[in-house]
């Protein structure tokens, strides 16, 4: 006869409630693990979808995600000419926060060369960008409709397609526009600002006595041309030809002195070790604390449940029951409670994880490891109850 099952059957209400409570706690532990993994997935999402071998950024920066990086767009031609490089494509990144439907609306805008790569990885609805201007592909998480317009910078942009789960390293959903649009949104000044700048340049040059009016006019046009140019990008990504030596390509670009060629491994390190390290550690620590709390709660539950059964245990001992019967009863209850609570936690997280504001990545290894940990906690926790049970004297069954 299985005493653990009989006890659970009799006290099923209490057992179910306890398991639900513990299940909710384990659900939180699982979600913490999912957020922890999600941080990695988010941080590396753009990196993975771009499928580039080298990220060329401004010299002495960790750009474009960790630091500001600005390089001229036309460097793409020079990079493309490096032996071993198969393709090179400029990319522009910026985080935008606007007001939409009366609420703050934040997203990560990626500008890409329509003839290059680094665009939306997968179109789940609508189509990809075809026109060079004013079209936009947005991530599903932005909850925008195809055909919807959004005002950015000086112009309106129409949503023509929906892409999957592309997010910035900070977890903001990504939107794609053409590189020209992204540059306009990021750098193009409005007409008043342009007029003001030109006036200021003209006034400054007018104060230079050594310039003739013709020279001053010529200089003004050139300086304005430079300050009004939007042909700047944050990075140029490159894909190597099969068999190309990445170190040699990097060395060649590094020798130009103005750029830093970052390999995917280095970029991964910058993103994971630098940008999300603290959040990762915080989550990891929080997860450990929650597991310790779970262990304490399980121990208390098992211990109080054993205290409730002191008379039963004493009676069992008095009628000659072997210790294994009593140990089995406590241990099986503890393990069963852990397993059921785990199941409840898992079901809970499975039903809700899509609705979390940040990405939850449930990896089977993490879930299996957590199950083993929960079972180990239950086993260790039950020792407290077992220790108490083994100390119970049969004589305690006597008396009223």
């Amino acid at each position: 006869m299985n005493l653990a099952i009989r006890d659970i059957r009799y006290h099923r209400g209490r057992f179910i409630l306890t398991s639900i409570g513990l299940g909710l706690l384990l659900g939180v532990v699982m979600s913490m693990g999912g957020i922890y993994r999600g941080l990695f997935a988010d941080a590396l999402a753009v990196l993975e979808f771009t499928k580039a071998d080298i990220w060329v950024v401004q010299q002495d920066t960790n750009g474009p995600f960790a630091e500001n990086s600005r390089i001229p767009e036309d460097i793409k031609y020079r990079i493309k000419a490096v032996p071993g490089v198969a393709e090179a494509s400029p990319l522009s990144f910026q985080t935008i926060q606007i007001e939409r439907l009366g609420k703050p609306f934040r997203f990560f805008l990626i500008g890409y060369d329509l003839n290059g790569f680094g665009g939306p990885p997968l179109i789940v609805a609508g189509r990809n960008i075809r026109q060079k201007r004013y079209e936009m592909v947005v991530a599903k998480a932005m909850k925008m409709e195809i055909g919807e317009k959004i005002h950015l910078g000086l112009h309106d942009y129409t949503v023509v397609g929906i892409t999957g789960k592309v997010v910035s390293s900070g977890g903001d959903p990504a939107a794609y526009v053409s590189l020209a649009d992204a540059q306009d949104i990021q750098f193009k000044k409005d007409n008043d600002a342009i007029r003001n700048d030109r006036e200021r340049i003209g006034a400054n040059l007018a104060g230079v006595q050594s310039l003739s009016p013709a020279q001053a006019k010529f200089l003004k046009q050139n300086i304005a041309g430079i300050t009004e140019s939007t042909h700047t990008v944050n990075t140029v990504v490159a894909r190597l030809a099969p068999g190309a030596d990445i170190k040699a390509v990097q060395e060649r670009i590094r020798r130009w002195n103005h750029f830093r060629p970052i390999s995917v491994e280095e970029q991964t390190k910058i993103l994971t070790k630098g940008m999300i390290e603290k959040a990762r550690m915080q989550l990891g620590l929080f997860r450990i604390i929650l597991l310790v709390i779970s262990a304490v709660i399980i121990s208390l539950i098992i211990y109080t449940s054993t205290l409730d059964k002191i008379k039963v245990i004493a009676t069992l001992k008095l009628i000659g029951s072997q210790n294994r019967v009593i140990i089995g009863m406590i241990l099986q209850q503890s393990l069963l409670m852990g397993a059921i609570a785990y199941g409840i936690g898992y079901a809970l997280i499975l039903l809700t994880y899509e609705n979390f504001p940040r990405r939850i990545v449930l990896e089977s290894f993490d879930l299996q490891a957590l199950f083993v940990i929960v079972m180990a906690i239950c086993m260790i926790s039950s020792f407290v109850g077992i220790r108490k049970a083994l100390k119970v004297e049969p004589a305690e069954a006597l008396g009223g």
Partner: protein
């Protein structure tokens, strides 16, 4: 052969100046089929005597023999398996029936049989038969909370009898019952003692319940002060 033999049984709690003699030089024998009462006021040492015979409390001095096997001689015999002896030779009936609350009536009897390694199906059959013989055939699936005090005590008696023990030890078995139910339990115990050829030793302080006992030992201040045969 006696079912119980007690020779100069002494139990002392504590040591030196704080030592308390709970039972001193108790000597008696109980034959199979005999119903014997140990009567005495609270704190007289009757429960200590019962627990020493019941292999729960180690005697300080003296000898205890159960069903011909010496279990204690100036303390437990070395290597003795007390649990096995309790399982096989002894049955216990408690003041508050001590049924396991999460087991049904039949399961409460079955557990004693299963602990003694009887297969489940056989244990269930035997438990049901036992309860039926005690007029509890209609209560097999009921939990203790659904049983009356008398019914619960009869289930406890069935559990004590389950392994057909040579000795049944009862600690105030009627204390939690009204007079009528108490008398019914005592009548039942007497019947079972004869039918099962078991020695039944009952500890009680209730003088009203001692009718029908074969012998009555009076205990006072740890000593057997008198013996009366009916």
């Amino acid at each position: 052969m006696y079912a119980i033999e007690v020779d100069k049984l002494t139990k002392i709690y504590g040591k030196g100046e704080t030592a308390v003699t709970a039972i001193a030089d108790a000597t008696f024998q109980v034959s199979p089929g005999e119903l014997v009462a140990i009567l005495g006021p609270s704190g007289s040492g009757k429960t200590t005597l019962l627990t020493s015979i019941g292999l729960i409390n180690e005697p300080t001095h003296g000898k205890v023999v159960i069903d011909g096997a010496t279990v204690a001689d100036e303390g437990w015999l070395p290597g003795i398996d007390l649990k096995r002896l309790r399982r096989e030779k002894l049955g216990f009936i408690f003041q508050a029936h001590n049924l396991i609350p999460f087991l049904t009536a039949v399961e409460n009897v079955m557990i004693a049989l299963e602990i003694n390694h009887l297969p489940k199906t056989e244990a269930k059959k035997r438990a049901a038969e036992l309860l039926d013989s005690l007029n509890l055939g209609h209560r097999l699936g009921n939990y203790p909370t659904a049983l009356s005090g008398g019914e619960a005590q009869r289930v406890a008696i069935a559990r004590a009898l389950a392994n057909r023990p040579k000795v049944i030890l009862a600690d105030e078995p009627t204390a939690a019952l009204d007079t009528e139910n108490g008398k019914n339990v005592m009548t039942l115990l007497k019947k079972l003692a004869v039918e099962n050829h078991s020695a039944i030793l009952v500890v009680t302080h209730d003088h009203r319940m001692v009718e029908g006992f074969d012998r009555i030992f009076h205990v006072n201040d740890g000593r057997i002060t008198g013996e009366k045969s009916n």
